[in-house]
C-alpha cells in the first residue's frame, strides 16, 4: 500500500511551491501598470500592447519559429535513424564513436558547442544566418530525439517486427507498418522536445547567428541583461501560458489514450 505521510506531503508542497512561485510572480508582475516592475500600481495590459507593437520582437519571434520548425524536423529524422541503428543495427564499424558523438551533446556545455560550430562555419566560409542556426540546433536536438526514441525502442517487443518480416514484409515495410506506429508517441515527443530546445536556446544561437537573424532568446537576453523589463515580463507570461496549455492538453490526451487502451484490452478479454 502507498500512503502519503505528512513528511512526503510537506516536501511535495514545498518543492512545487519552489518550482512554481517564481513563474507565478513573473506572470502577476506582467499585469503591473508601473514601469518599475516590482512596485505594484494597479492592473493593466499595457505591456502586452507595447510588446505587440514592437517590430523587432515580432521579427525575432518569426525567425525563432522557422528555425525551430526546420531544425526539430531534421533532428527527428536523423535522431530516429540513429536510435534505430543503435538498438537494432547490431555491430558496425565505429559504433562506440557514433554513440559517444550522439549522446555527448546532452551534457556538453553550450559554450563549447557554440564556439566549435562557429569556428567550423567560418573555416568553411558559410555565412552566418538562419541556415547556420538550423545546422547547430539540429545537431544537439538530434541527441534528445535519439534518447527518447531509444527508450521506446528497447521497451517494445522485437518479435512483432520479426513476425512482419516472416509474413513477407521487407525491412522498410516492417519499419513503416509495424515499428513506426509503435514508436510514434516517442518520435512526436522527440520532435516537441527538439522544437522547445530550439526556441529556448540562447548560447549556441548567439555564436552561430548573423546580424540579420536575431532570435527571440538573443533579444530577451540583451533586454534583461541589465535589469528587469515590463515588456519581457509580458512576453514571458505569454510563453509560460502557451507551454502550460500545451503540456496539460497532451497529458490529458495521453491519459485518455491509456484509458481507452485499458478499456479495449478488457473488452478483448471478455
Amino acid at each position: 500500500m502507498r500512503r502519503l505521510s505528512w513528511f512526503n506531503a510537506t516536501s511535495l508542497t514545498l518543492g512545487f511551491a519552489f518550482l512554481y512561485l517564481p513563474m507565478v510572480v513573473l506572470v502577476v508582475y506582467s499585469f503591473n501598470a508601473n514601469k518599475l516592475v516590482t512596485v505594484w500600481a494597479g492592473f493593466s495590459t499595457r505591456w502586452y500592447g507595447e510588446l505587440f507593437r514592437n517590430e523587432a520582437f515580432l521579427d525575432a519571434a518569426w525567425v525563432t519559429l522557422r528555425v525551430a520548425l526546420v531544425s526539430s524536423t531534421l533532428a527527428t529524422i536523423l535522431g530516429t535513424a540513429a536510435a534505430y541503428v543503435l538498438v537494432r543495427g547490431g555491430r558496425f564499424f565505429g559504433r562506440t564513436l557514433f554513440s559517444g558523438m550522439l549522446y555527448a551533446p546532452l551534457v556538453m556545455p553550450d559554450v563549447i558547442l557554440g564556439l566549435s560550430l562557429l569556428l567550423l562555419f567560418i573555416s568553411i566560409g558559410l555565412d552566418r544566418g538562419m541556415i547556420t542556426i538550423i545546422l547547430a540546433h539540429t545537431t544537439f536536438s538530434m541527441a534528445y530525439v535519439a534518447v527518447v526514441v531509444t527508450s521506446r525502442l528497447v521497451a517494445f517487443d522485437h518479435s512483432l517486427e520479426e513476425a512482419a518480416r516472416d509474413l513477407g514484409c521487407n525491412r522498410w515495410d516492417a519499419f513503416r507498418l509495424v515499428t513506426l506506429p509503435i514508436i510514434a508517441p516517442a518520435v512526436i515527443s522527440g520532435w516537441l522536445l527538439g522544437f522547445t530546445l530550439s526556441l529556448d536556446d540562447l548560447v549556441i544561437a548567439s555564436f552561430t547567428s548573423g546580424p540579420s537573424s536575431t532570435t527571440l532568446p538573443i533579444k530577451i537576453f540583451s533586454a534583461v541583461r541589465l535589469g528587469v523589463s515590463p515588456e519581457i515580463n509580458a512576453l514571458s507570461a505569454i510563453l509560460i501560458g502557451i507551454v502550460t496549455v500545451g503540456v496539460i492538453t497532451t497529458s490529458l490526451m495521453s491519459k485518455r489514450a491509456i484509458a481507452k487502451r485499458i478499456r479495449d484490452e478488457n473488452r478483448a478479454e471478455t
Binding site: N8, P22, V243, V247, S251
Partner: protein, 296 residues
C-alpha cells in the same frame, strides 16, 4: 544497402558538425592571435602546396595554454566553476530527493499529475526561469518586500548579483533534471523490502540508509551528471544573477570570444574545459548505455 545508408546519414552529420568542429577548436587553440580576418595566424594555405603545410605546422605552439596558467583569472575561474558545480549538484540532490521520494510514494492516480508538474517547468524557457529570479531577489524585489512586510528584516537583503543568487538559480533551473532520474529509480523500489526491514527490527531511518538510498543509486548518479557537467560551463545564470565577482569559466570564454575577440585563447579555454569534463562525460555516456543494455 539501406542499413548502410541509415547508419551513414546520422554518422556523417555528427562527424561533420560535432567531431570536425572540435578538431578546428584544437587547431585554433595552438594558433596565435592576430589583427586580421580571421583573427589568428598561421592560416593553412594549401595553394603553397607542401611548403604551405610546413609553414602552418611550424607556426603552431602551446603559447595560449601557457598563458592560461600564468594569468590567475583563468585558473581561478576553473576552480570557482568547479566549486559552484560541486556544491550546486549536492544542493540540487538534497532539494530533489524529498520531492522525488514524495512523488514515488504518492497514490497511483496522483502520480501522472505530479510528474506533469515536474516536467512543465522543464518545457518552459530556461532563460525566462532564470530571469524570473531577478525580480524576486532584487533589492526592492518580491522576496525583500515580503520579508520586510512580515517584519522579519528591517533592511533589504542583498542577494541579487552575488554567488547566493547563482546557487539559487542553478538549483531552481536544474531541479527537474535531478528529480526525474531519482523518481525513475525510486518508483521501481519494492515497498515490501522496506516492510521486511521494519519487521526485522530496522528503524525507519536505518531502513532508508540501508535500502532506499542504495537502491536509488542509479538515479543519483544519472541526475548528478545531468546537473554537474552543464553547470561547469554555465553562462546564462552567472551573467544574469551573479555579480562582477562571480567567476565562471563559461562567462570567461564568452567574454574572451565576444568582447576581446581573442579566438585562440577562447579555444584554449574551451579545450581545457573539455579536458576537465571528458571523464565525467564518458562516464555519463557509459552509464546511459549500460541502462539501455539492461533494458534490452
Amino acid at each position: 544497402m539501406r542499413r548502410a545508408a541509415l547508419i551513414a546519414l546520422p554518422y556523417m552529420w555528427l562527424l561533420a558538425l560535432f567531431f570536425v568542429p572540435f578538431l578546428i577548436v584544437l587547431k585554433i587553440s595552438v594558433s596565435d592571435y592576430a589583427l586580421s580576418i580571421p583573427p589568428y595566424t598561421p592560416t593553412l594555405d594549401l595553394s603553397q602546396g607542401w611548403q604551405g603545410i610546413r609553414d602552418w605546422w611550424a607556426g603552431l605552439d602551446f603559447e595560449n595554454f601557457i598563458f592560461l596558467t600564468t594569468d590567475s583569472l583563468y585558473w581561478r575561474a576553473y576552480l570557482s566553476s568547479l566549486k559552484i558545480a560541486v556544491f550546486s549538484t549536492i544542493m540540487t540532490l538534497i532539494v530533489a530527493y524529498p520531492i522525488a521520494y514524495g512523488m514515488s510514494r504518492a497514490k497511483d492516480e496522483w502520480r501522472p499529475t505530479l510528474l506533469m508538474l515536474v516536467i512543465l517547468p522543464f518545457w518552459t524557457s530556461f532563460l525566462i526561469r532564470v530571469y524570473a529570479w531577478k525580480a524576486i531577489l532584487a533589492q526592492e524585489g518580491f522576496l525583500n518586500q515580503v520579508l520586510i512586510n512580515l517584519g522579519l528584516i528591517g533592511e533589504p537583503l542583498t542577494i541579487l548579483n552575488t554567488n547566493t543568487a547563482v546557487y539559487i538559480g542553478i538549483v531552481y533551473t536544474y531541479l527537474p533534471f535531478m528529480v526525474l532520474p531519482l523518481y525513475a529509480a525510486l518508483e521501481k523500489l519494492d515497498e515490501s523490502l522496506l516492510e521486511a526491514a521494519e519487521d526485522l527490527g530496522c528503524s525507519r531511518a536505518s531502513a532508508f540508509w540501508l535500502i532506499t538510498l542504495p537502491l536509488s543509486k542509479q538515479g543519483i548518479i544519472a541526475g548528478s551528471f545531468l546537473v554537474f557537467i552543464p553547470v561547469m560551463g554555465e553562462f546564462v545564470i552567472p551573467t544574469l544573477l551573479g555579480g562582477s565577482d562571480t567567476l565562471m569559466i563559461g562567462k570567461v570564454l564568452w567574454e574572451e570570444f565576444f568582447s576581446n575577440r581573442d579566438w585562440p585563447v577562447a579555444s584554449a579555454v574551451a579545450i581545457v574545459l573539455l579536458a576537465i569534463l571528458i571523464i565525467p562525460i564518458v562516464l555519463f555516456i557509459k552509464n546511459e548505455e549500460k541502462q539501455w543494455e539492461k533494458d534490452i
